[in-house]
Amino acid sequence: MSSAFKMADFSFAAPIIFVALWACVVLLASAFSTKSSKLGPLTAFGFVIGLVITGYFWTALEQPRMSVFSGMLVLDRFSLFLDMIFLLAGLLTSLVAHGYVEEHGFAESEFYAVIALSVVGMMLMGHAGDFIIVVIGLETMSLGVYSLVASWTDKRKSTEAGLKYFVMGAVASGFLVYGIALLYGATGSTRLLVITSRAAAHIGDPLYIIGLFMVFGALAFKVALVPFHMWTPDAYEGAPTPITGFMAAAVKTAGFGLLVRAVSTIFSGESFAYGSTGWINIAWMLSMLTMTVGNVLALRQTNIKRMLAYSSIAHAGYIMLGVIAIPVLGLDPSAVLLYLLQYAVTTIGAFGVVAWVGRRDAENTGLEQWAGLGARKPAAALAMTIFMLSLGGIPPTAGFFAKLYLFKSAMGHPSLLILVVIAAINSVISIFYYLKPIVAMYFRDAGGEPIAEPMRSSSLSVAITLAAIIVFLLGMVPGSALEMAIKSTIGG
């Protein structure tokens, strides 16, 4: 028994274990301090240390792929890069949440510990080498995020959003577990690589194919691909604004990370991937639908949170395009990773500004309430402008470069070229609604009394400034980040 587990395995899982321990520290601190005034920065500090540890592992990793806990966890640069995105998202979210929670005065003290624990779940998903870990990670993440969405207990919409997300998410988890059960029934293993190696014996096996599609459907739900996106606008609008950003950034990244891992392992079988009923064909259609539906519905929104929710659906479509390109063109996942990184930072920044503009009893998420913000609060307006330009893919921001790199790397195949053209048209459409907040802030006069008066919070300002700088730097000097993403290959 013990020969299967080595004590050394624990040291290789250090980034995950550290964040889990830090969550315990935050939980204890919240239990013993009477007011929760320092918990946000405390959590953020833990994420910074986590980033340093993960960064060290990323540079020090000698083999392309390490298998720890007898294959349960996988350690490769791909998963460590994902970890860094999660930790960065957690860092920015806890800083934004600190200001937001203080202003609105709603959260119980376990709020920050739950953020850290859901990051642990995401990291487990990224490192998963076995479906058992996939389920544990996904549930740890999801249960945390459900309760975070519903954490504003005084607000009906928050509770409603949490319940909707929970019910829909539970169905998706059910699909995932059922799919895994079918795959286990067909192949006799839950280990991703073992399932992959036995795939050849199960070509045309309905048990196997239905199992794979159930797993695919569950992941499509988590990343909100059309037609699995129905929960997104309600859950995003009702959740506390920093948590909305966290969901759009980190939960989506975790889902796509797992999808890319699946694409390089269990989805890689020729018969399952290609042909008219192969998953690539279906994913092509989902990608096209997702970006188009997301963008078209975003056009009509006047609530900024809802608009950004639909925009996040559209971005899931773009990222899906990158995911399809990986097996079709034999690419490394660098384009997807870079896109996920910039999207995570940009979207948390954008939701951070939305959180900034709200005051107690007035969240000010309507576009008309943003009129004249550019003259009164130039810094906030400038930050929002950078984030909107980045989401729209306009230079010199991170969004432009990542989108360019993603589209360019996917163009090598005729059917993907069609998808790239559709994505480019969609990007042009999306600029229209991304410009709406900018127009409202700079070119609309509030007339008389200012409607939205941003809150004062140093941690929120730090988070938004940090996000804006990262977005700007990734757009201007993307070289080192790109190099890092290219090195972050999936091992084995």
Binding site: M1, S2, S3, F5, M7, C24, L27, L28, S30, A31, F32, S109, E110
Partner: protein
């Protein structure tokens, strides 16, 4: 194979059949003269004092939840105790159940780690006054 289960099926058939038969016989030959007192739900022969559907205080759910957590803790002890010899051995056990290689603290440490996390949860609910009734 399945014929082994035949006696059980017979028992269920006899029990179910007898119950249904008694109900039918009572319906057929018994006199039926209902009055309001007779129609009341039976409550130990006394008059009914409260509606049968009671709404429990929300506190009970919290207690039930906490009970569940610490009950599962106890449930985890059994498999751990059974496997303790394996977990504390560097190699594998021989046929007599003796450890051939050296000992390792692994088996002890996993349970200590598990209990530490649980203890943390207990401290948390205690400090947050979840164990107090009001």
């Amino acid at each position: 194979m399945l014929t082994n289960y035949l006696p059980i099926v017979v028992v269920f058939a006899v029990a179910g059949g007898l119950g249904i038969a008694l109900l039918i016989i009572a319906r057929l030959i018994g006199p039926s003269r209902p009055n309001p007192t007779k129609m009341q739900p039976y409550e130990a022969g006394l008059e009914q004092s409260a509606p049968p559907r009671i709404r429990f205080h929300a506190q009970f759910y919290r207690v039930a939840l906490l009970f569940l957590v610490f009950d599962i803790e106890a449930a985890f002890f059994y498999p751990w105790a059974v496997m303790f010899r394996d977990l504390s051995c560097k190699g594998s056990l021989n046929a007599a159940g003796k450890c051939t290689a050296g000992a390792t603290p692994f088996g002890m440490l996993v349970m200590v780690a598990f209990l530490a996390i649980l203890l943390l949860a207990l401290v948390f609910v205690w400090r947050r006054k979840a164990l107090e009734w009001d």
